[in-house]
């Protein structure tokens, strides 16, 4: 395949008074899938649009395979892009949509339809090739958009929240499919999303952005287990923030003393950052340290939301089998299961 590496060097971009990107740097290797993750307004979409050529940076350079493409117009960049939704051309059939990029590249009708069918086959929609796009479901439309973006063998694939307008079930299926296709074609991919679960599930590396800068870029495991900042810790996965007091490097939580992992100069009153799966909830007949608010059944596991005597909301994730007696309103004892916790300033 024609896949290339991508690098952004010292990109800055302002909109009015807002710094969308502030001296932003990113490297994506050949065949790698990197996700940019962050809250809305963090600059992730701007970064992707600068790569696509749909926005022009105020400063910095975009390199594809070490070639500076900063001044190449969007339609000559040879990048496949999948948008949030509704980007298909409603006047064209499915196969004509997929063949559009090749038509613009003056490929003969026979060849471009052959290629379109090849890609529709890959996304499991070859049987729908003669239909119009409004006859397809949201998930099918995004599959067609993916096929269209890949049909002209782009050097880079750009995914701009392609799943955000879809239903939960379709979203999960399609993200797995995108990943399988991306691995098998080996296309270098930049994927922008605000959904941490999505980013973590299918990426080689995830870059967490905030206010136009990259806070941390790392593998999903590393981000989850070794977050570089309190922002990353709270944004990636669910994180309880429990008020505690630090002394001699230890914090006391639910009656147990555990080692505090400090990032900076946290001291005195702090928040202990604890994952839901590191908290156990046990029903007590005596006075416990919390009360159950709700129990959500999630299949293999259940999510228990409790409130401690001082009003803190605590979330715990346990196997469903062990939560049968945790009814809303019942008195429970919370315990921490790990021997170390991250702490952050209040």
């Amino acid at each position: 395949m024609s896949s290339k590496s991508l690098s952004l060097k010292n990109i800055s971009k302002r909109f009015g008074n807002v710094n969308a990107l502030d001296n932003f740097n990113l490297e994506v290797g050949v065949g790698e899938l990197v996700a940019l993750l962050g809250p809305s307004g963090c600059g992730k979409t701007t970064a992707l649009r600068v790569v696509a050529g749909l926005e022009h940076q105020d400063a910095g350079t975009v390199l594809v395979a070490d070639k500076n493409i900063s001044d190449v117009p969007a339609h000559k960049r040879n990048m496949g892009m999948v948008f949030q939704a509704y980007s298909l051309f409603p006047n064209l059939t499915v196969e004509e949509n997929v063949a559009f990029g090749l038509q613009m590249r003056k490929v003969s009708k026979h060849l471009r339809l052959k290629k379109a069918h090849e890609l529709l086959d890959l996304v499991g929609l070859d049987s729908q090739s003669k239909r119009f796009t409004h006859q397809l479901s949201g998930g099918q439309q995004q599959r067609v958009a993916l096929a269209r973006a890949l049909a002209f063998e782009p050097e880079i694939l750009l995914l701009d929240e392609p799943l955000s307008a879809l239903d939960a079930q379709v979203r999960v299926n399609l993200r797995e499919e995108i990943r399988r296709l991306q691995i098998s074609l080996g296309t270098t991919t930049l994927f922008v999303t605000h959904d941490q679960e999505e980013a973590m599930a299918i990426s080689d590396r995830v870059g967490v952005m905030n206010n136009g800068v990259l806070e941390q870029i790392d593998t999903p495991d590393a981000l989850y287990n070794k977050p570089a900042s309190s922002f990353v810790a709270s944004f990636v996965g669910t994180m309880n923030r429990i008020p505690a007091h630090i002394s001699n490097g230890m914090v006391e939580i639910f009656g147990s003393k555990v080692v505090a992992l400090k990032r900076g100069n946290e001291s005195g009153k702090v928040h202990a950052l604890i994952r839901p799966e590191s908290i156990s909830v046990v029903a007590t007949t005596t006075q416990g340290n919390a009360k159950v608010l709700t129990r959500s059944f999630m299949g293999a596991s259940s999510n228990i939301i409790c409130q401690t005597a001082d009003g803190t909301i605590v979330q715990s994730l346990m196997t469903s089998a062990s939560t049968g007696d945790l009814l809303p309103g019942s008195s429970v004892q919370l315990r921490i299961l790990s021997s170390e916790v991250l702490v952050a300033n209040v």
Partner: protein, 259 residues
């Protein structure tokens, strides 16, 4: 969710059809009936119609009005489609201003407009009948603008444009191969509105001392009202064909398809 296909009796619909029937179809049919009366024999006949088509001015003026209307349509599309696409994409503050300005021709009295044009336009503009399409364009602007606006608002224009560009289409191809086909219904409606308005414009044309089909019909009506009605009836066929075209290419509703 499927809806019952049967058309039930519905009061609001009945009212609309009744009003349209009384104020539109009834006058039309009466005028037609009147135009085929033959008072001498007491029956009906095509006398006035035969008179009209054998009149050599009929073809002359209708062709002239049609090519003027055609030029107006071309001016309208060339000016409005790229400008309005740009206005919609740019999200610019001036869009509200232009939206308002496009309504201006609606409230300007044609008399003032015509006199003003006569005074202010340079000689070479006033010497050619091509002055008319530009003025017709202005008169049709409020409707043409609204109609294209509906089309451009009903599609996710920004996303579709960016999808076309990132797939390799330059601006010209984006407009001709993507935007225009996608808002086909709107474009057809714009063409029909502009064409019909240009074909029927009377006041401005008369005030500027040009002769077109409508001024000729009025001239004929002075001596021969039945002949004028017959001519009008026949000229109706042309916009009617255009109307059929619009109805076939019904404007797209929003693509998202709300439930």
């Amino acid at each position: 969710m499927a809806k019952a296909l049967r058309i039930k009796f519905q009061p609001p619909l009945a009212i609309t059809l009744l009003i349209l029937g009384f104020f539109v179809f009834l006058p039309m049919l009466s005028a037609f009936e009147y135009s085929i009366r033959t008072p001498l024999t007491g029956g009906y006949g095509w006398t006035h119609y035969i008179w009209a088509v054998t009149e050599e001015d009929f073809l002359h003026y209708i062709l002239r009005s049609m090519w003027l209307a055609g030029v107006t349509v071309l001016i309208t599309l060339f000016v409005l489609v790229p400008t309005m696409t740009w206005l919609h994409l740019s999200n610019s503050k001036v869009r509200g201003l232009i939206d308002g300005l496009s309504l201006l021709p609606l409230v300007i009295p044609v008399v003032a407009f015509a006199v003003g044009a006569q005074i202010s336009f340079p000689e070479f503009v006033q010497n050619t009948v091509l002055e008319l399409p530009f003025l017709y364009f202005v008169l049709a602007l409020p409707y043409a603008y609204r109609s294209l606006d509906i089309g451009l608002n009903s599609i996710p224009l920004k996303t579709i444009t960016e999808a076309a560009r990132s797939a390799g289409a330059n601006w010209l191809r984006t407009i001709t191969s993507v935007i225009i086909p996608v808002i086909r219904g709107s474009v057809m409606a714009t063409i029909a509105l502009t064409f019909a308005l240009s074909l029927g414009e009377y006041t401005l044309t008369v005030l500027l001392h040009w002769d077109t089909f409508p001024t000729w019909v009025t001239y004929v009506a002075q001596d021969n009202i039945l002949g004028a009605i017959a001519i009008s009836m026949m000229s109706l066929i042309i916009p009617f064909l255009i109307l059929t075209v619009i109805t076939l290419f019904v404007p797209e509703r929003t693509i998202q398809g709300r439930k």
